[in-house]
Symmetry: C2
Subunit: 248 residues, 2 copies
C-alpha cells in the first residue's frame, strides 16, 4: 500500500485543533491541490473562501451551531457553488446563459465540482499531518453566511472545512459493509440481504460506541440515522437556493 | 512536497485506456478508499455500481454520448446519490423519513457524500499509476441509465468514472488563476479585477490550445465556457430527479 492510500484510509474527522496557524505556503499548496481536481466541462464552477478574520470565524461558528472547532483551528475554508464568473464571462461575449446557470444540472455540476476540489484539499492537508473536519452546519443559516461572506447571486456556500494541527485524535468509525454500498452491474434490491447486512452493521456500530464510551452509549447505525432523519432540517434551502439563482 | 500531493497535482483526465483489466484487489482498495471519505452526519448517502458486463458498458457508452472510453477501460464505476437504504432502516424503526429524504438538503448531502467518495477513489487509482476520467455524460439519459442499473426510488446515478491503464497521457489544462477562485474573508466582487484576471486566463488558455494543436485551435476560456453554457442541456433533470424522490 502506498503513502497516498495510507493517508486516505487513515482519515478520521478532527474536532479539536491546537491554535497554531497553518503556514501560508501550506494553505497555498492545499488550494493548488484543490484546483487540480477534475471539473465538469472545464467549468471550475466553485469558489473557495478562506476565513482568517477571527471575528468572522466566531460569527460563523455561531451560525454553524456553536461548534468550537469552527473558530478554533489552523485555517478555515468555505467551499461555494459558483457560476457568477461564468455569467460575467458570457456577458463579455454578449450571451445570456441564465437558462443554463439556473438549471438543476448546473447546480449539480457546481456541487460536484466543489466537493471534488474539497476532497483534494482534505487529502492534501491530511498528507501534511493536519486534521480536517467538514462543516455542513453552515447550511443552518445560509442567508446570514452569504451576508457575512458577501457572496453575489449565483454563489452558494455549501460547506466549510476546519483544518489544523490535531489536539485530539478520534477513533475511525467503521463504514457500511461493502456488500450494500457497492453493487456489481445492477443495484442490489434484495431487502433480505440489505437488512441482514444492516443488522450486522448495527452490531459493529453498537460495539464501537460501547467500547468508546465504556458502555454508556448504546446506539446502532439504523437507529442513529433514523433519529437524524426523523426531524427534517434546513427545509428553507429549496427556496433559498432558488433565491441565489439556482435550481429554478 | 510529499507523494500524495505530487499525485494530486499530476492529475489529468485520461480518455484512452489499454484493455487490460484492473486486478480485483486494486478495485477493492479503490472502493475501500472511497468509503473512507468524510460523510455528512455519518449518513454515507451514496452507492457505487461497478460495471463489469461488457454489454452494459457498451450501452452506457452510447447513453453517455458515444464516448469510447466508457466501454474501453480497465474498470467503470457509477456513483449514485442514495437514500434508499436509509428509508429501509427507518422503516425497521417504524419511522417515516420521507419529508427529510425528499428535501433539497438531503439531495445536497447525497451529492456531496458521493463526490467526496469519488474523489478519494480517483486519487487512489492515480496513486496506483492508473488514469481516470469522470463521466457526466450519463446524465444525458438518466432514465435509461436507471433502468439499465435497476436503481430503486431514492437512488440517482450522478456520474461515472472510467479507470484504467493510460494508453495516452494528455497535457494538464491550466486552472483559473487563484486570485479569482480563492477569496479571503469575503467574496471578491470587483468586476474590474475579475475581468482582468479572466483576460489573463484567456491568454493562457489560448496559448495552451495553440501549442497543443499546432495553432489550429483558437479558443479562450471565456469563449469556451460561453459556448458550453449558451445552449442548456439536460433540462429534464429537475423533473426526473423529483420522480426519483429527491428535491421535492
Amino acid at each position: 500500500m502506498n503513502n497516498t492510500i495510507e493517508t486516505i484510509l487513515k482519515h478520521r474527522s478532527v474536532r479539536a485543533f491546537t491554535e497554531v496557524e497553518i503556514p501560508q505556503s501550506d494553505v497555498d499548496q492545499i488550494i493548488e491541490a484543490a484546483q487540480a481536481a477534475s471539473t465538469s466541462s472545464f467549468l471550475q464552477a466553485y469558489s473557495i473562501i478562506g476565513i482568517t478574520d477571527p471575528e468572522k470565524k466566531r460569527t460563523l461558528s455561531i451560525l454553524a451551531g456553536n461548534q468550537s472547532y469552527v473558530k478554533e483551528n489552523g485555517y478555515f475554508l468555505v467551499f461555494c457553488a459558483d457560476l457568477y464568473r461564468h455569467e460575467q464571462a458570457a456577458e463579455q461575449h454578449g450571451v445570456d446563459i441564465t437558462q443554463t446557470t439556473e438549471s438543476t444540472e448546473a447546480f449539480m455540476i457546481s456541487l460536484i465540482d466543489a466537493a471534488l476540489a474539497a476532497q483534494n484539499a482534505a487529502v492534501t492537508a491530511e498528507s501534511m499531518g493536519l486534521g480536517i473536519c467538514y462543516i455542513g452546519g453552515i447550511r443552518n443559516n445560509l442567508k446570514q453566511v452569504c451576508e457575512l461572506l458577501q457572496t453575489p447571486n449565483k454563489v452558494v456556500p455549501l460547506f466549510g472545512m476546519a483544518i489544523g494541527y490535531p489536539k485530539q485524535i478520534e477513533e475511525q468509525k467503521p463504514r457500511i459493509p461493502k456488500e450494500i454500498i457497492f453493487h456489481e452491474n445492477q443495484y442490489m434490491q434484495d431487502n433480505d440481504i440489505l437488512n441482514e447486512n444492516l443488522q450486522q452493521y448495527d452490531q459493529i456500530i453498537s460495539d464501537y460506541y460501547k467500547q468508546r464510551t465504556n458502555a454508556k452509549k448504546n446506539m446502532t447505525w439504523t437507529k442513529q440515522i433514523t433519529n437524524t432523519l426523523e426531524h427534517s432540517k434546513r427545509l428553507y434551502l429549496n427556496d433559498f437556493i432558488k433565491q441565489c439563482g439556482f435550481l429554478r
